[in-house]
């Protein structure tokens, strides 16, 4: 079986049984919890700041058409060119055309999850274009030929020994167990790439309607180099990234950094408006932005889950999720991992195939508490379960729900059913129960009470 659910169950079983790897992930996240709490303590009111962030995104998304029109008019007035793409194939075609027009020999890319979503690197490589990921984590994942493990910390699952071996194999560098030395190897290797590349491809964290600027958040400086040195800059962004005004970013930028990485502010937050100006010494001659829908309008059409478009991709929900910490990022099989990925992937790729992710949750609500823009994540997992049962009920859903309804709407039958259940429960506990073997492997069914609540009530218990 190779449907997403079977693959997920198989992979998740393997990773969740790997105790040393789970301990490694917990340790890697340990510093994050400490730093996040230290930074949150500097906020005069974190909860109100979340209100402000949530309202900024809510008002932008609920006026998306007007904001996008305003943004594109301003972006083009600044000298950039906007390209609209209905789906992944259109976005790939546009970027391939731009790259061909630029006569590109080499392309350097900074981290962009939207490009992972449309499998851009495969498309570029299939046409013979060399493309290098410049974010350290993405660079390592590209060499490993593996998708990102976590959409903010792409290679957090890889140990330094494995990275050292990878660099020895691909770059011919001597082995080392120092993260500092490994980072410097990548730095030296990639510096040449920025200088030589003709085209730089980046993502965008925010699009500012009021000014026509795109905002890019990063720690390493690779996005700034990618947007400074090559002759052509192409940015790729989902349509939901637009905010109304520059002032919105004065709350969203620090919250993105604190919620996602425990920093006061990410190292570089850069706003681009247009290509190099006449009075500036450098910068690209051309600046393109590809605006991607790719089913985002389907999420928009669901008012109940529309707030999942508020996501600023900080990764906080992954960092606190007990499921993510146990099964790891790769088992999801999605571009966006963790709770937000489990919520939006069924919209992006189909509920029938991807609803199983909604079940991969303890519904503890840690994600909802952590979300800086107040997305109701764990309830959306329930909404997806309900929608899946409505749209494509399994035979079990049908029979179980119909019989449940039949019995519970008939008091006599309900009472009889209860009696039968109490009588059979001890026997049931000895037998293998279908569909519950995984649950019961580590848990016992409760004892049945001798007398039902209804019988106690009839006898007058609790009434005096």
């Amino acid at each position: 079986m190779s449907d997403p659910k079977s693959i997920f169950l198989k992979d998740a079983a393997v990773t969740s049984a790997d105790a040393p790897q789970r301990a490694f992930i917990r340790k890697a996240l340990g510093g994050y919890y400490v730093n996040r709490d230290l930074q949150k303590a500097r906020y005069r009111d974190w909860e109100r700041a979340r209100d402000a962030a949530a309202m900024a995104k809510w008002s932008a998304v609920n006026d998306l058409a007007a904001n996008l029109e305003k943004f594109t008019a301003n972006f083009e007035r600044n000298g950039g060119k906007v390209h609209w793409a209905r789906d992944a194939a259109e976005a790939r075609e546009i970027i391939l055309r731009l790259v061909r027009q630029a006569g590109a020999k080499s392309i350097v890319k900074s981290k962009c999850m939207t490009s992972e979503e449309i499998h851009l690197n495969d498309a570029l490589e299939a046409e013979g274009f060399g493309v290098v990921e410049s974010d350290l984590g993405e660079f390592i994942q590209q060499l490993r030929k593996e998708p990102p493990y976590h959409f903010v910390f792409p290679c957090m699952h890889v140990k330094r020994e494995a990275i050292s071996e990878l660099f020895t194999q691909h770059l011919g560098t001597p082995p080392t167990d120092s993260p500092e030395e490994l980072t410097m190897i990548a730095r030296r290797h990639l510096r040449q790439m920025y200088v030589d590349a003709d085209v730089g491809i980046t993502g965008a964290n925010f699009l500012v309607a009021e000014t026509g600027q795109i905002s890019i958040t990063e720690n390493e400086g690779n996005a700034r180099l990618t947007a400074a040195l090559p002759r052509v800059h192409i940015a790729l962004s989902g349509i939901e990234k637009v905010v109304a005004s520059l002032d919105d970013l004065s709350v969203l930028l620090p919250m993105l950094a604190t919620a996602g990485a425990g920093q006061p502010m990410t190292c570089y937050n850069t706003f681009y408006s247009g290509p190099k100006r006449r009075d500036e010494p450098d910068g690209p001659e051309e600046f393109h932005l590809v605006l991607l829908d790719n089913s985002r309008t389907r999420i928009l059409a669901d008012p109940e889950q529309r707030d999942s478009l508020h996501c600023i991709r900080c990764g906080a929900c992954l960092n606190v999720c007990p499921i993510f910490k146990n099964i790891g990022g790769l088992a999801y099989g999605t571009t966006y991992q963790g709770p937000i990925g489990s919520v939006i992937t069924p919209h992006l790729r189909g509920l029938k195939q991807w609803n199983h992710l909604s079940g991969a949750s303890s519904l503890c609500g840690a994600c909802t508490d952590a979300c800086p823009v107040r997305i109701d994540l764990h309830h959306h997992l329930l909404h997806n379960r309900r929608n899946a049962a409505k749209e494509n009920p399994t035979w079990f859903d049908r029979i179980f729900h119909r019989s449940f309804l039949f019995v519970t709407s008939r008091p006599a039958l309900f009472s009889l059913g209860g009696k039968a259940f109490r009588a059979f429960l001890p026997l049931l506990k000895k037998l293998p129960v279908p569909y519950m073997s995984a649950w019961l492997k580590t848990r016992d069914l409760p004892e049945a009470p001798a007398v039902s609540f209804r019988d106690q009530w009839k006898k007058g218990a609790g009434r005096g």
Binding site: R44, N78, N222, N269
Partner: protein
């Protein structure tokens, strides 16, 4: 077939015909509106200039950036010269600016000016880039540089160290002030690049262990005059 823009905008308008509920907020009825960029709730940037300067110094120290406070331009020139000497810098890149002209004057090494169509490889080989900035943000320890006031896009990111020369009156309490200032200063037109720099370049991609100097400068020095 309609073009993609028309199609996507039509899909959006259709989808938005049904209103979405407002997010569940913590605020009580009658509380101040959260639309004012969340300012009273974000980290403090200081009520007075002295308070802002104290917060700025604390934040820069936590970010592993180096702050040098000097009384005047002559002292700034000496501080920069001492820094270049101590680090053994051989070539420093800078841009044309009246403040920098004075501050760079005492440098014991070559000062290479970036100009139109400069050689990228040559800039990459420089030990440091010396720039001015639009302003410094106390709240987060950030410096706002721009393609207009900081010698373009590459000068503040490509050399191995970055020195920012600023005056105390350039310190603003928070991010919203910084954005208002840059807007007012540019007559409404934004430079093609504006960048909030918060500490030296860093990564935690290997086992979440902090390493400085991932791709951008390994060192960030702020020389603050006044």
């Amino acid at each position: 077939m309609a073009d993609a823009r028309t199609d996507i905008l039509a899909r959006i308008r259709e989808a938005l015909k049904v209103k979405a509920p407002r997010p569940h907020l913590r605020a009580e009825p009658g509380d101040p509106s959260p639309s004012k960029a969340g300012r009273p709730w974000l980290p403090d940037g200081g009520e007075t200039r002295e308070a802002s300067l104290t917060i700025l110094a604390e934040q820069l120290a936590k970010l592993k950036a180096v702050l040098l406070r000097v009384p005047d331009r002559a002292a700034a020139a000496k501080a920069l010269a001492d820094l270049a000497g101590a680090k053994g810098w051989k070539r420093v890149a800078s841009h044309s600016d009246s403040l920098l002209e004075e501050v760079n004057a005492a440098l014991p090494c070559e000062v290479w000016p970036v100009s139109r169509d400069f050689d990228k490889r040559r800039l990459e080989a420089c030990d440091a880039g010396v720039t001015t900035c639009e302003c410094l943000v106390a709240q987060l320890g950030s410096a706002l540089v721009s393609s207009r006031s900081s010698g373009g896009r590459a000068l503040s990111i490509l050399p191995h160290a970055h020195v920012i020369v600023a005056t105390a009156d350039q310190v603003v309490p928070d991010l919203a002030d910084a954005l208002a200032k840059v807007r007012a200063g540019n007559g409404g037109e934004m430079p093609s690049m504006l960048s909030f720099i918060t500490g030296p370049s860093r990564t935690g991609d290997i086992e979440r262990i902090l390493v400085l100097g991932a791709h951008g400068p390994k060192e960030l020095h702020v020389i603050l005059i006044g």
